[in-house]
Symmetry: C2
Subunit: 129 residues, 2 copies
DNA sequence: TTAAGTGCAAAATCTTTGCAAATGT
DNA sequence: ACATTTGCAAAGATTTTGCACTTAA
């Protein structure tokens, strides 16, 4: 699992292992603050943001914006990029769930537009609320 | 067109008319800065943000986040809320296009989840880039 | 060894808030 | 007249940057 890092040319540092592991084990998308708290107060802000950015660029995680526009991060190395991918944002508790197989049908874009990636955001109320 | 304001219980102020008109005539979603520049430097920050918020709550406009997470606003009173609605985000120029009839298929959410609104974000390259 | 990653402090960016004055209905 | 809206200044929140130090490969 942590070989994912090397495969992307990223060094296996303590923080990165912890970060990747944490997101991997998270049921839903986590905010910067969620992650920082989970990893321990001593984690450095810049380092954390830089790693979240690096992971996202490497395709290891996704960034989704919740209802209020705040960034949340979810493990996504197993997801099939280039295919549709859905996120459910609960309007009540702000939790962001990853939904597999939400049923993606063909998307029609205008002439000249090239689709690289389709992301579906479903807003509503989750089972817990 | 400006009766939309009264219908939502919003007073018809100069700024609101200009703002609504501007977004109505915009081909794609605009950032706070785009809007501020278009409306003139003298427009007040708080007032603008407050109105964007009010318009969004009233369902007159949408807020979409672009590639880098920045909020962009698009006129949306004509859109059928509750139905699927697509935005195309160009990864090159960051332009956000509203796409009508991008083909909304049924979305499957887990047991207990209630869908209120589905938004599709398509990332890729636009015709201009 | 050395390119990549980290920690710190400082700043940039975007957005919100409180309140007195102005404005629409 | 009266609730709403505005403008200003100040603060809040999130994210980024520069640079010297440290670490994985």
């Amino acid at each position: 699992m942590e070989d994912l890092l090397q495969k992307q040319g990223l060094k296996r540092t303590k923080l990165r292992m912890a970060l990747l592991g944490y997101l991997f084990n998270s049921k839903h998308a986590q905010s910067y603050l969620d992650i920082k708290n989970a990893l321990g107060e001593q984690v450095d802000k810049s380092t954390l943001y830089r790693n979240l950015g690096a992971f996202e660029e490497a395709g290891l995680i996704h960034r989704i914006n919740d209802q209020s526009g705040m960034a949340k991060y979810a493990f996504g190395a197993l997801h099939d990029h280039g295919n549709a991918h859905a996120h459910f944002v609960c309007e009540s508790c702000e939790t962001v769930y990853c939904i597999e197989n939400a049923n993606s049908s063909k998307i029609n874009v205008p002439e000249g537009f090239k689709t690289k990636n389709v992301q579906t955001i479903i807003k509503g109320t989750c089972a817990a609320c």
